[in-house]
């Protein structure tokens, strides 16, 4: 069974069509990347498949069952979402924020149990956040805060992790740190990862399958090596690109060549 089966999906804001006739499948345990220029509908697609935005028309099956048939709570037990703007700079401590990831698992009116606390502790240690657990997140850098957001998503123990541009505001060190954790998590637990990415080189390095969107329509999707060609990307992004093979990893990478 596929993780997501999307059939003739349309998403309109008023008269404006943001997504048009999208049909694709996302497999179980995939590292699935969504790329495309600004305004191509990437974030809208993410909002739609995470259940926050009901589609204007078309069908979405999640694990074989219509997405609309799931309650918010049922979805929260299976899908964790890392929003583009991450966690707001609040005076909550790192541990408090990560603990909130346990919310869907808690019984009504009860607080974190021993198991929940163990899960949180485990994740904090794994992401090297344990020494910072009592620090308030409004005192952390953007990169550290993104790690906390990732830790919160991990505390949710989902089957699917959806990330909306997880590396956009990060320096290269934190970009790799976040992505390496995501991949390690994917490899160890076999969970599915769906992520919107701006950085084609990150997409080339970390994704198995890629969907390329342009102006709300699918340009192409499938195996990363087939989708990511300099010719197609240059046309869609309207930018001159040179494709090279990563000398160490053997994955497609792109160099920008301005005029």
């Amino acid at each position: 069974m596929n993780l997501f089966e999307i059939q003739d999906l349309n998403q309109h804001y008023g008269a404006h069509a943001v997504l048009q006739d999208l049909s694709l499948t996302i497999g179980q345990g995939d590292m699935f990347g969504i790329i495309g220029p600004n305004g191509s509908g990437k974030s809208t697609l993410i909002s739609t498949i995470s259940g926050i935005l009901p589609p204007t028309s078309g069908g979405i099956l999640f694990n074989g069952r219509p997405l609309s048939a799931y309650s918010a709570k049922e979805l929260a037990l299976q899908i964790a979402v890392l929003e583009q703007d991450g966690t707001p700079a609040l005076p909550f401590t790192v541990e408090q924020v990560v603990s909130m990831g346990r919310y869907p698992w808690l019984k009504p009116f009860s607080d974190l149990g021993p198991h929940d606390k163990a899960v949180v502790e485990n994740i904090l240690k794994k992401l090297n956040l344990w020494p910072k657990r009592a620090q308030k997140i409004n005192t952390l850098s953007g990169g550290q805060r993104q790690l906390v957001s990732l830790a919160r998503a991990m505390a949710q123990e989902p089957q699917v992790l959806i990330l909306d541009e997880p590396t956009t505001y990060l320096d290269i060190g934190h970009q790799l740190l976040v992505m390496d954790h995501v991949r390690q998590w994917h490899d160890e637990l076999g969970i599915s990862i769906i992520m919107v990415l701006h950085d084609l080189n990150i997409a080339g390095q970390y994704c198995d399958h890629v969907l390329l969107l342009d102006q709300g329509k699918i340009v192409t999707w499938g195996n990363k090596d087939e989708v990511m060609s300099a010719e197609v990307l240059a046309q869609v992004y309207k930018a001159d690109l040179v494709q090279v093979l990563h000398p160490k990893l053997g994955v497609p990478q792109f160099l920008l060549s301005g005029k």
Binding site: A72, E83, M100, Y103, D111
Partner: protein
């Protein structure tokens, strides 16, 4: 209450404030135009508790002052303070707006218009007498709440900004009606204005009993939403992804919070500042975690309003000061100090 799961900080604050609350009750009852000694006050109060039977070593007048005059007023102050502060925490939490207070959706303006209408048109010509005023004020508050909700509803959703703006619009409109009524009210002008400034004078046990169910129901409901408040602080989308039906929760919390505020206003008039500063003050002291913030704000609101009312009725020999004057006079500078020192720390 599950004490085992509570952090030591939460426990210290809760127990400390509860103790302060109990002491405040006794001291506040002692104070007044007739001051009573501590042992007598204590014995009169204790004698009213079940299973305690003391030999009366006090006069009937003293007992009447404590039991019929001061205690109902003390309890009404506690309830109103608790209600306003708790609903303030709820509003600030759910609207994620530091300027939010229990009156932000216009219930106080609606209640004031209802009260003014009762004073002008109904009360003098009615056999119902005094009881009409709270009923009219409560109805006025509910009507304004309904208008705000119907104005801000879009595609079945209530955006935070739209709610707040709808509250502003409704307040402005009802304020105009109210000003008009006051302008043409003639000799009843003073009564309307005094009602609007808020007062707990001439409180009875009946007032306490009318307000008590709101307190119990509203507080119980809001206190069961503590974890939801925390998760919603992360943002509405994040909360949805964590399994909360945010729109439904938001509506329920705003309705309950507004009901609490409307009930309080219709009994004692518009007492400002409590619902705004107590949540901020406690957030600066104990942090943003609603599992601590909500209960300590309830207690602190009760204590704050009790002392404000005690000052209001004892400061001047000849007359009472409107309690709204005291809450603002004490609250504003204290808040300014906290704001300044809080900003410097972070």
């Amino acid at each position: 209450m599950n004490l085992k799961n509570k952090s030591p900080k939460a426990l210290t604050w809760t127990l400390g404030l509860t103790l302060l609350l109990l002491l405040s009750i006794v001291f506040s009852v002692m104070m007044g135009s007739v001051s009573l000694p501590l042992p007598v006050t204590f014995k009169i109060i204790a004698n009213q508790l079940p299973l305690i039977n003391l030999d009366p070593s006090w006069s009937v007048a003293q007992e009447s002052i404590v039991w019929n005059l001061r205690l109902p007023r003390v309890f009404l102050a506690l309830i109103v303070g608790a209600v306003l502060a708790t609903s303030g925490v709820a509003f600030q939490g759910i609207l994620r707006n530091p300027l939010a207070d229990p009156y932000i959706l216009g219930v106080s303006s609606g209640a004031a218009l209802g009260a003014a209408s009762a004073i002008l048109f109904i009360r003098d010509s009615s056999v119902l007498g005094q009881s009409v005023l709270p009923l009219f004020a409560f109805t006025g508050g509910l009507i304004s709440l309904a208008i705000v909700f119907s104005l801000s509803r879009q595609n079945g959703q209530f955006e935070r900004e739209t709610l707040i703006l709808a509250g502003v619009v409704v307040q402005a409109l009802l304020g105009a009606f109210l000003s008009f009524l006051i302008a043409v009210s003639g000799q009843q002008m003073q009564e309307i204005i005094f009602w609007m400034m808020g007062s707990l004078a001439s409180s009875t046990w009946q007032d306490v009993l009318i307000l008590l169910p709101y307190l119990l129901f509203g507080l119980t409901y809001l206190h069961f939403q503590k974890r939801e408040f925390n998760v919603i602080a992360l943002g509405e989308r994040a909360a949805t992804h964590l399994g909360i039906n945010v729109e439904r929760k938001k509506l329920a919390i705003l309705v309950v919070g507004s009901l609490l505020a409307t009930a309080a206003v219709s009994m004692v008039g518009i007492i400002g500042f409590v619902g705004l500063i107590i949540p901020h003050l406690m957030r600066l002291l104990v942090g943003p975690d609603h599992r601590i913030l909500l209960p300590v704000s309830t207690l602190a609101g009760a204590i704050f309003l009790l002392w404000s009312d005690t000052i209001a009725r004892t400061l001047l020999q000849s007359q009472e000061i409107p309690i709204g004057v005291i809450t603002a006079f004490v609250g504003a500078p204290f808040f300014a100090y906290l704001l300044k020192s809080g900003l410097r720390r972070s």
